[in-house]
Symmetry: C4
Subunit: 281 residues, 4 copies
C-alpha cells in the first residue's frame, strides 16, 4: 500500500541548525551536467542545491556555461567537465553527487558517467537524473555498489531503465525493479512516487503550472541539497519531493505557470517556516 | 468591418490546465534569430515564450548569445544557428517555430529562413517576424505550403511584404494580400490589426509607453507561446495581441516607458487572472 | 548670475507621449565606449538611455562586453567597436551620440573619437564624456562644427579641456571657455553647473551617497536619452541633470550609498510622475 | 580579557558623509582573486566592497570572470590578473588591497601574492584572505613591512598561518602570534574574534544560516570597503565584522539559509540606519 507524503515529513527532516556549525556541516555537493546545449539544466539544479542550504557546491559542466553559472550563483565553484583530472578528487571528496541534468548523451557524457560510477564510494549519495538515466539504460551500465543511489526518472526514463512500459507502470511492477536496483527511485509524474526500502510513497502535491522545462532539474538539485544536509536519506528525499511541489502549489495560487528558478528562490523562507519546531528540539 | 479584440478573448483562449498534464502538453517551441548584433531580440522573444507557459523552448541563435540566453532563461535550450545539422531535427519536431527576431539579413539568416521553410510541415505553426519578413520580401520567397503561417510585420515591413505603401494600407487592401498569402497577418501599429480567415480584428489596447525597441520581439514570442499551448490558432493570436498591450497599459499607469522584459515577467500572474473561469469548466 | 535648476524644468521637458507615436518618435541613440577594462561604464550609460525611454539604442563597445550588455539590456543592440565599417552608418544615422564612458585613451579610443567627430553632422546631438574629454584635451582636437555638442566633464576633466585650474574654476571663467567652445558644458560637482547659450544654471540637488564610480556614466546616458526624445536640447540637459540628482536624493533618504543602476531603474516611474501635466496638454 | 563587539561600534565608525565629498573621498580599493574555478569568490568580495560605499573598485581576476563581474557589478573595473603590467600601478595607487578570495594556490596566484607584497606601501591597508593565507603559510612568506596588514583566516587557515592547532587556539596563544605578525587578525568562527593592537575582541552576532560558501569572501570585501572609507582601521574592521553578522542575523529571522550576496545587497540600507547620528555631528 502506498503511503502519502505529507507536510509532516518537513519538520522531521529539516533540522534546526546547531549554533556552532560551519559550512562543512552542511555537506559538499557536486553537480555534473550541462553540455553546450543544455547548460541551463545544471544551473537550475545547482541553484536548488545552494538555495536549500548545501554547504559547498561545485558544478562540473561544459566550459561555455561558466559565466552563466556564476551569474546565477557566485556561490558555486566551477570545474570544466572535460578536465576529469581536476574533477576526480572533487567527486571523490563529495558527500553528494548529482549527475545528469543537461548532461546529454554524447561520448563525454558517457565517459563522465562511467568514471563517476567508478569513483563513487560508501558514505556518498549518488543522484542519477535526466540524460544520465538514458545513458544508464542504453549502455546497460550497473549502478555503483557502495554508494546510496537515487534515481529520479520521469515515466519515459523509467521505462528505459526498468523496461516497464509506461502503461504497465504500477506500484508492484515498479517495486520489483526498485528492489533489484537496490536504489531509491523517484518516478516523477502528476503525483510523484518514491520507492525506498521496500516501501512506496506518493506525493500529495503538485500542479500543472509546473509543467515546464527545468522542473526536474530543480528537483534533482533539491534532493541533492537535502541529502547533503540531513541524516536520513530516504526521509530527505521524501521531504525534497514534498517541498518542490508545495512551493509550486503556493506560487500557482497566483501564477498560470511557475518557473523552476522561482521554486529555488523560495526555498530559504519555505524551509525556515517548516523546520523542526523549537518546542521539539 | 473590423471586429474589436477585447478582454473577452482571454478567458476563451487561456484554458485552465488539466491536472494530469506534463510539459509535453504545452508544446515544443523553437525560436530562431539573434545574430551577433541583435542577440537581445531573440532573448526577449524567448523570454515571452517561456513566461507564457510554453512547455519546452529551444533558442537557435549565434553562439555569442549562449550565455546571455541562459542568464535570462536557464529554462531555454540553446543551439548554435550555424549548426543546421543539430537544428534541423529540432525544428522538424517543434509544434511552433518563431523565426526572425534579431535574425539580420546576411547569408546565414537567409539560409536559416529558406531551410526552415523547407522543413516546415503540417501541424506546425510558423511565425515570421522582423528581419525574416524583410528577407521574405527582398528575396521573393514563397511561404511554406503546409504549415500555418503567421506574419507579424510593422507597417514598413508590411509594405515590403505586401507591396502596399504605408499610406495606402487599409483593411480592404491588406485583406486582399492576406488572402493571397493564406496567412494570419498581424500588422503592428498604434492599434494593431489582425487579418485571419477573411476577417479583420483591431486591438483596443496599447500605449505610447511601449514605443521602444524589443516590443515586437516580445509579441512574436508571446504569439509563439500561446499558439504552442492553445488549440485555436487564430484565437490564440488575438489573445496574445491583447495580452501584450493589456499588460503594457497596466504598467503604463505608473511608468513613462514600459520595457519589453517587464511584459514577459508579468505574464504568469496576468494569465492566472484571465484564464478560463472555474465555473465555465 | 546663476539660475537654479529646479523641479519646474521637469514638466516643461518631459512631454506626454502622443498616442500614435512609435519607437522612431523617441530617437535613435548610439553610445560608444567600454574598453576591456571599463565595460561597466558604457553599460551603465546605456541602461540610463533605455530606461529614460530612448526609442532605439545601439552600444558600440569592445566585444568582450557583448554578453554583459545583453544581460543588463536585451533592448540594446551591440556593435564591435573595432568594426568601424559597421559602426559608421549607425553613428551617421543616429539622432544622439554619447561617446566616452569607459572608452579609455588608447589608439582605438582615439580613432573612434576622431572618426566620430568626422561623421557628426547637423541635427545630431553629440555628448562627450569621460575618457573622450581627456582625449579631446590631450590631442588638441576640435569639436565638430555642425553637431550640437554637450560636454560633461567633472572638475579635473574640465581643467584638462578648458585649461582652467580647479581652484580657478568660476562662472565667469567657465563661461568664457564655454562660449569659445560653442558647446553646452555640464561641470559635474557637488552642485553641478550647466553652461548653455550664454547662461549658467546650477543644480539644486545631489547627495554624497552618489559619490561612487559610475554616476557620471549614468548621467551621460541620461542626457542622451532626454536629448533623443525632447525638442529643446538645453532644457533636456537641465532636466536630465535634475532628474539624476533628484532620484539619488530620494534613494539616499534610506540608503547610505546609491548605486548608479538604481537611478536608471527608477527612471520610468520618476518620469511618469513628473511629466507634462494632463491639464497643460 | 575579550571585549565584545556590539552595535555601539557602528555609529562610531559609519560617519555621516560630508556634503561636498566625491568618489575619491571614499577610497580606491583593489580586489585580487578569482581563478577560473573560483570566480564567484572575488565577485562576492567585490560586491560587498561596492555596496558598502567604496569610491572606486577595481577587480583583478582571471579573464574568464570578466563578464560575470560586470553582470553583478558594472560599477567595478576589470583587470586581467595575468597582466601585472596593467595591474601594478593600480595596486600601487590603491588605498586598500584585498587579496585572496578564490585566488587558488597555483603559480599565478603565488606570483600575484608576492608581487603585491612587494608593491604594498605605507598608507595602504592590505587584507589577506582565503587562498592567499594558505600560500602565505606554505611558502613561509613575510608580510609586507609598511602596509597595515589584516588577515582574515578561518580556524584551519589560522592553524596554517600561526602553527597553532585548532584545538589549541585560544586568546593567549592567538594573541602571541598576532603580536609577532604585527597585523590585525580576524579569526572567523561561530563567534569571530579580532586581534588588534594587543587587544582581543569577540563578535556577539552570527547565525548558522550563514554557514555557506562565500560568506568569508563577502566579509573580506566588506572589511575592504569599510577600511577604504573610515579613518580608524581597527574600528572599521570591528564594524565590518559586526555588520556582516548583524545583517545575517536579521535575514535569518525569516530564512533557513542566508546567501552571501543578500548581505551585500542589504548594506546600503543597514549602513544608513546605523550611521553616525545627526545629533552627534
Amino acid at each position: 500500500m502506498m503511503k502519502e507524503i505529507t507536510k509532516n515529513i518537513l519538520t522531521k527532516v529539516i533540522r534546526k541548525r546547531p549554533a556552532d556549525s560551519f559550512k562543512g556541516t552542511y555537506g559538499k555537493i557536486v553537480l555534473i551536467g550541462g553540455n553546450r546545449n543544455f547548460g541551463g539544466a545544471i544551473i537550475m539544479a545547482s541553484l536548488a542545491a545552494v538555495c536549500s542550504g548545501a554547504g559547498l557546491v561545485t558544478t562540473i559542466t561544459d566550459p561555455t556555461n561558466q559565466t552563466s553559472l556564476h551569474d546565477w550563483l557566485p556561490e558555486a565553484m566551477f570545474v570544466d567537465y572535460n578536465d576529469f583530472e581536476t574533477a576526480s578528487p572533487i567527486i571523490k571528496g563529495a558527500d553528494v553527487i548529482v549527475i545528469g541534468p543537461g548532461l546529454g548523451t554524447d561520448n563525454i557524457a558517457l565517459s563522465l558517467l562511467t568514471k563517476t560510477f567508478e569513483v563513487a564510494h560508501t558514505n556518498q549519495t549518488l543522484i542519477i537524473d535526466g540524460s544520465a538515466l538514458t545513458l544508464l539504460a542504453h549502455n546497460h551500465l550497473s549502478l555503483p555498489k557502495s554508494s546510496l543511489n537515487i534515481l529520479t526518472p520521469h515515466q519515459m526514463e523509467w521505462q528505459r531503465v526498468s523496461g516497464i512500459e509506461i502503461a504497465d507502470q504500477n506500484p508492484t511492477a515498479n517495486q520489483r525493479i526498485a528492489d533489484q536496483l537496490k536504489a531509491i527511485i523517484v518516478v516523477k509524474s502528476h503525483r510523484t512516487e518514491v520507492y525506498a526500502n521496500g516501501k512506496v510513497y506518493q506525493n500529495t502535491g503538485g500542479t500543472p503550472a509546473q509543467a515546464t522545462g527545468g522542473m526536474g532539474d530543480t528537483l534533482a538539485g533539491l534532493i541533492g541539497g537535502f541529502t547533503a544536509q540531513f541524516e536520513n536519506k530516504t526521509a530527505a528525499t521524501l521531504a525534497a519531493v514534498y517541498t518542490h511541489s508545495a512551493i509550486a502549489d503556493k506560487l500557482a495560487k497566483k501564477q498560470y505557470v511557475v518557473l523552476p528558478h522561482q521554486i529555488s528562490e523560495a526555498l530559504p523562507k519555505f524551509m525556515f517556516k517548516n523546520q523542526e519546531s523549537k518546542n521539539d528540539n
